[in-house]
Amino acid sequence: MDNKPVSTDRITNAKQVLLNLPGVCAVGVTDVDAVVTLKVYFESIETLEAADLPSQIDGIPVQAVVSGRFNAN
């Protein structure tokens, strides 16, 4: 990891990688103690466990949570 500013391109590219992982419903940007962090939403515990989720992508930290699938409501 590095201390480069997090550009829009870096975030977009990282989100694309994460969205392609099986079981990922959504990927967004949040902050953890004022650090830009990618948040990955999984459809189930099983898919989260099965995913080869990196702790960071291109220096951007990754945080995971189980959300379930999203539906229009």
């Binding site: 201390n3 830009v36 999203f70 539906n71 409501n73």
Partner: protein
């Protein structure tokens, strides 16, 4: 049960590991967003101590640099700094905000009684009995945040009336009024016809699956087509023409009143609220922004970019606990800041524990020139 416990333990362990791995290595003042967020948190107490400051958030200026946006009631507000910890502060006049009303004091145990919709604002009009059950029929003008539906679906359905929009007609200079909700609420996932399909209050699910001419409050005017072919979507939104005699600009008077006409960009940690058809008034926190998400519909899956994720919370004693922010039927609800009622998003989807919203500025842009002949703003009643 043991299996479930083990899974939960594994999940917590994984989350802890990820967080520990992730956080320490990127703490840096060089991160524009993080620096701005930190500065806002540091300066927030002082900002809100200034009389007339009603909201503050993080946004990007034209050059892509993070800045702190401070919303003030009028030009007379003094003392807003130009910089906080090296981050520029942009001052925005958002107008006066309506007072937050204490729901518990005002409810009066009348939930479920149809009826006293009230004045143009959609409040109680000064009557003794205030109907704040959004699943019932309201006298006209109906308040925002209540059950609506469309004539087009061939099944019982109800969503939520988000808010009333004020459209400044760029040709005539006249002001026209519109109901804002979701495409999937009043345009039946692209199947409805503008100028033909009608908006009903309440939605048919809340009127015994009947369609009555007496329930009509608007006519579908425009919707943003939802792509189900994998192409990116920005909003799930639709507008219907209405009048101030049919649709008010505020929630029932026991809830929070009128939203402001100014809008606020969501930022992680922002506390928000919504009043909607199914779960009434709820509070939540912005969990993530710039979210790319796949959402399931009756017609298939649609991919949305740059959305907002919200997680609900409620107070238990002195602590907050995670709770539901929305459920089926809340779609179309306007999400506003907990402080100041500043519009933030348009609720349209969710899972069992998270809610998804379109950024409200994107929604307003969609229905403003050059896509329509209007300049749209959220109607605050002024």
């Amino acid at each position: 049960m043991l299996f479930v416990k083990n899974k939960i333990r594994q999940l917590l362990t994984l989350a802890a590991v990820l967080t520990c791995l992730a956080v320490p290595n990127l703490v840096s003042a060089q991160v524009p967003y993080g620096k701005a967020l930190k500065a806002k948190r540091v300066g927030q107490a002082k900002l809100f101590a200034i009389q007339g400051v009603v909201a503050a958030g993080i946004s990007l200026d034209a050059a892509g640099q993070a800045e702190i946006k401070v919303f003030v009631t009028d030009d007379k507000v003094r003392g807003v700094p130009k910089m906080i910890d090296g981050v520029p502060v942009k001052r925005v006049k958002s107008g006066p905000f309506s007072a937050y009303q204490n729901r518990k004091q005002a409810r009066g145990g009348n939930k479920g009684k149809p009826g006293s919709g009230g004045d143009d604002g959609g409040g109680d009009g000064g009557g003794e009995v205030v109907n704040d059950n959004p699943r019932t029929r309201f006298d006209r003008a109906v308040p925002i945040g209540v059950s609506i539906g469309a004539t087009s679906p061939n099944y019982c359905f109800a969503g939520t009336l988000g808010c009333r929009l004020k459209g400044f007609n760029l040709t005539t200079g006249a002001t026209d009024y519109f109901i804002l909700s979701n495409n999937h609420v009043i345009a039946n996932e692209n199947s409805a016809t503008p100028g033909f399909d009608l908006v009903l209050q309440p939605g048919s699910l809340d009127s015994g699956c009947t369609l009555s001419a007496d329930d009509v409050i608007g006519t579908l005017y425009d919707f943003d087509t939802i792509n189900f072919n994998g192409a990116a979507n920005s909003v799930d939104a639709a507008i219907a023409s209405t009048t101030p005699l049919e649709t008010g600009f505020a929630t029932p008077s026991t809830i929070y009143g009128a939203p402001t006409s100014g809008t606020l960009s969501a930022s992680p940690g922002l506390v928000v609220k919504k009043f909607g058809r199914t779960t009434d008034l709820t509070e939540g926190v912005v969990d993530a922004i710039n979210v790319d998400v796949n959402v399931g519909y009756d017609k298939g899956t649609a991919f949305f970019t740059d959305q907002i994720v919200i997680v609900g919370r409620s107070r238990r004693g002195r602590k907050y606990v995670t709770s539901s922010f929305s459920a089926g039927g809340d779609s179309g609800s306007l999400i506003v800041s907990a402080d100041g009622n500043v519009p933030v998003g348009l609720l349209f989807a969710g899972s069992s524990s998270f809610t998804i919203a379109n950024p409200i500025a994107t929604v307003l842009d969609r229905f403003s020139s050059p896509n329509t002949n209007y300049l749209m703003t959220v109607d605050d009643g002024n």
